[in-house]
């Protein structure tokens, strides 16, 4: 276990479909990899790509974006906007030298607890293969000066401290 790299993954979920799929996976006691920590938003359309970059810069090894299936968006069609941003974001990540496979978009309806669970486990394995996202000790090349509020520096140091334990 100590030799095995355990990736940390942030999962963005929409309130209506994928978060409910995660609820359903729980209610049905389906098991999936514990590496994903979820954030609930109202819609995948709420996903500002900055959120993904922030997660990757602050210690996440991968980001999973989930939303309603195309055509089933609670807000009519906002998941398509998430899809567009996702595709653009992957190109940006490549330009930054980050493997685009660290970010994945998964559609899961409220009824698809099993899909949510299996896709999560699958993504964890994919990121595990990629290995840790190494930014270096001085916290990477990204400057996140985007006008949004920043976390305090103390938490970054904890992240860095733990990162050092990861076998590269």
């Amino acid at each position: 276990m100590t030799d095995k790299f355990e990736p940390t993954i942030i999962g963005f979920t929409c309130n209506w479909c994928s978060y409910r799929a995660a609820d359903l996976a729980g209610t049905a006691r389906m098991k999936y990899a514990p590496n994903v920590r979820l954030i609930r938003m109202m819609c995948s359309g709420r996903l500002d790509p900055t959120f993904v970059l922030r997660a990757l810069s602050n210690g996440a090894d991968g980001v999973m974006i989930t939303g309603c299936h195309p055509g089933e968006c609670h807000y009519v069609e906002q998941n398509y906007k998430a899809l567009r941003r996702y595709l653009l974001l992957k190109r940006v990540l490549k330009g930054m030298g980050i493997e685009p496979e660290r970010v994945k978009l998964v559609w899961a309806s409220a009824a698809e607890g099993a899909r949510f669970a299996s896709e999560t486990t699958l993504f964890v394995e994919e990121v595990r293969k990629l290995g840790p996202l190494n930014w270096g000790k001085d916290h990477g090349p990204l400057t996140m000066d985007d006008g949004l509020s920043h976390g305090d520096t103390s938490q970054s140091s904890i992240v860095d401290g733990q990162k050092e334990e990861v076998p590269a």
């Binding site: 276990m1 100590t2 355990e6 940390t8 942030i10 978060y19 409910r20 995660a22 609820d23 996976a25 729980g26 209610t27 006691r29 098991k31 999936y32 514990p34 590496n35 920590r37 979820l38 954030i39 609930r40 938003m41 109202m42 819609c43 359309g45 709420r46 996903l47 500002d48 900055t50 959120f51 922030r54 997660a55 602050n58 210690g59 996440a60 309603c68 299936h69 055509g71 089933e72 609670h74 807000y75 009519v76 906002q78 906007k81 941003r85 309806s109 009824a111 669970a117 985007d146 006008g147 949004l148 509020s149 920043h150 976390g151 305090d152 938490q155 904890i158 992240v159 733990q162 990861v166």
Partner: protein
């Protein structure tokens, strides 16, 4: 986080949920960790308790808010979809703004889906840290209250829509009942008998139709369709297209002389399922409500050739108006019920059953008309030639249902409908009846008793899905007949059963335009095309869109009692809203900081609710709070960062990301 925000006093409450959480997560450790390690975030107290949602658990939180002066609360327990309201109410009881309380789900998202206690405990700490970081960024919000227009729109005049309309109208509130066909009644009006009691469909339905048609609180708009919907719960604005009937409703007495005198006969593909005729000016059936006929312009001799006008000539009240135009009607309503029903699976798609090619293969709807005393054969069950009584009849279940090539779902009514057909054929013709079924599904009151009755009557049951219906005879007995090729799965052999008539119990499918209709009303459909309910068990008639309800087969295949129950349930939900006079909306909304807005208009096209408008004189965009549904797409898109979303602000989400990443899993398992 600014210095000012660091002064928040946060209370963390970790729930055991009996052993549901505590069995997999070391809740004591989580609570202790939060108190020791999240002090910097403002945590002043962290407790664990057996059942936080119990009244004692809630009192614990309320007491701390009062005595310790908490300004933020995090409850680490179940999914927010279950108890967010409970704890927010508790916070409000203690004088804290309810939106300053956050739920961290460590049950559905942790203890129930993971097995390793150490890992689950670490993840719980991360989830709690995320919620604490986020809650500090929460701002107090006020619920938005909007008034409810007491009028209701019901789309679809089948039995579910009629029931809903009567319930609301009888309670004293106005209903607009819109139906796209010339008469209300829906599919039920086409049936002869209803299972399992075999009472005559028209006898129980037409009194309801008349009641709806004459009710002072019901405005009936038949031969009409909704073309536009805008607004939100409490105040929808709806545009209805009333198609030209070419009959002046205020003058028409329903005497039907025009129908009698019309020289043009047309095959009735809709009501008579293609088995009978109607005139070019017609009412679909004798008991139609309203009684006013509709003139079918495509088939009317006057519209084709320019002469005839027989109807106009003979009309005693001069009610015929060939120049009548489609009319657009605008109505304002507070709530909407969609009871738009189903369509029958097109049996032609299963070519090996030969429907459309082999004349004596009938669909279930054709058989309903054939067996109906008011139908084209006056209730005589005969072959396609119109005179021969069949000596043997095959009834095929699950046509287009429970079949991965067509629809995976069970159409619910086909087993009972097929049993009803078997009974009617047996009773009226004495023919030998074969039922070909996959599984018999006769749940609900009185249904299985009916199955036993049909068994006792001598109907034969063959368990197996029919492979083919063919007219290719192997021997003289099969010659000129339909041969049912089937694997009898109980006998374990292939059988060829010659019959005179085959009835396909076609499954139910969503209306062909259900997706567009769903989109127009802002509700979603399942992948099959049925409207999606808010909760499959606990909220089956509400939808994710406030103020829009669904009833009957539009939500999924169901029988008449269930459709009626849903119609009444949707009505009850709406009456509850109307009587409250106003509705509370979640204050999750987006708003534009006009100082920061550059007027780029990127957000304008993103909003599916047209809530964003551009103020040309000031060169900024503005969001209409009443129309905004809070999806946040514009918030994410604004390049100037001028749009912020309450409840899910950038600050909240970024803080949560940072909080979730406070601890990584690497430290686990050492």
């Amino acid at each position: 986080m600014s210095d000012e925000k660091k002064q928040e006093r946060v209370g963390v409450y970790v729930c055991h949920c009996g052993s549901n959480i505590a069995g997999t997560v070391d809740v004591v450790d989580v609570a202790k960790w939060a108190e020791e390690n999240l002090k910097g975030k403002g945590v002043v107290i962290s407790r664990e308790y057996k059942f936080m949602c119990s009244s004692l658990g809630q009192e614990l939180i309320e007491k701390d808010i009062r005595e310790l002066g908490l300004t933020r609360v995090v409850v680490a327990a179940c999914s927010p979809h279950l108890h967010e309201k409970t704890f927010r109410t508790a916070a409000a009881n203690a004088g804290l703004n309810p939106y300053l309380c956050e739920l961290a789900s460590i049950r559905e998202q942790v203890s129930w889906v993971h097995t390793d206690k150490a890992v689950a405990t670490e993840k719980s700490k991360a989830v709690v840290a995320g919620a604490v970081s986020r809650v500090v960024e929460n701002v107090p919000l006020d619920e938005i209250k909007v008034p409810i227009n007491p009028n209701t729109l019901i789309v679809g005049g089948g039995i579910a829509g009629i029931q809903a309309a009567l319930e609301i109208a009888n309670a004293g509130f106005h209903v607009y009942l819109v139906e796209r066909e010339p008469s209300i009644g829906g599919h039920m009006a086409q049936f002869d008998k209803t299972f399992p009691t075999l009472d005559c469909s028209a006898c129980i339905l037409t009194p309801r139709m008349v009641e709806a048609g004459t009710h002072p609180n019901i405005t009936m708009l038949t031969w009409s369709e909704v073309v536009n919907v805008s607004g939100y719960v409490g105040s929808f604005s709806v545009t209805i297209k009333k198609k030209a009937r070419c009959v002046k409703e205020d003058l028409c007495t329903g005497c039907a002389i025009c129908i009698e005198k019309c020289p043009k006969k047309v095959v009735d593909d809709v009501f008579e399922a293609g088995l009978g005729y109607r005139k070019a000016i017609y009412t679909p059936f004798a008991q139609a409500v309203p009684k006013y006929p509709v003139l079918d312009k495509e088939n009317c001799t006057y519209f084709i050739k320019g002469t005839c006008k027989a109807c106009e000539k003979f009309c005693p009240t001069e009610a015929i108006d060939f120049n009548q135009q489609d009319e657009m009607i605008n109505v304002d309503v507070g709530n909407i019920i969609l009871a738009t029903g189903f369509e029958l699976f097109d049996a032609r798609r299963i070519t090996n059953y030969g429907y459309g090619r082999l004349p004596n293969v009938f669909t279930s709807l054709e058989f309903e008309r054939l067996s109906n005393a008011a139908g084209p054969t006056n209730g005589n069950i005969v072959l396609r030639d119109g005179k021969t009584t069949p000596k043997s009849v095959a009834i095929l279940h699950c046509v287009g249902s429970r079949d991965k090539n067509y629809n995976n779902y069970c159409s619910v009514i086909c087993c009972m409908q097929s049993l009803k057909f078997a009974h009617l054929v047996e009773e009226r013709t004495g023919a030998t009846v074969y039922n070909f079924y996959i599984d018999m599904r006769t749940a609900f009151k009185g249904y299985d008793e009916f199955y036993q009755r049909v068994l006792d009557e001598g109907t034969l049951f063959v368990r197996g899905k029919v492979a083919e219906i063919t007219d290719a005879a192997y021997n003289s007995d099969e010659k000129g007949r339909l041969i049912i090729q089937v694997e009898d799965t109980l006998a374990g052999k292939q059988r060829r059963i010659p019959v005179d008539m085959a009835i396909l119990s076609s499954g139910l499918e969503p209306q062909h335009d259900s997706k567009e209709v769903g989109k127009m009303f802002g509700i979603s459909c399942s992948t099959d095309g049925w409207f999606t309910e808010k909760h499959p068990k606990l909220d089956p008639v509400a939808t994710m869109t406030d103020g829009i309800y669904i009833a009957g087969c539009a939500q999924g295949p169901k029988d008449i009692p269930s459709s009626v129950a849903q119609g009444a349930a949707a009505a009850a939900r709406i009456l509850d809203k109307i009587l409250q006079k106003e509705v509370t909306l979640e204050p999750v909304k987006a708003s534009v900081d006009l100082e920061k807005c550059s007027g780029c208009r990127i957000c304008n096209g993103l909003c599916p609710y047209n809530a964003i408008s551009f103020l040309a004189d000031r060169n900024v965009s503005e969001i209409n709070l009443a129309l905004c549904q809070g999806c946040g797409t514009c918030v994410a898109a604004c390049p100037a960062g001028a749009i912020s979303g309450t409840g899910f602000s950038d600050e909240q989400i970024l803080a949560q990301i940072d909080g979730l990443l406070l601890r990584n899993l690497e430290s686990v398992g050492d």
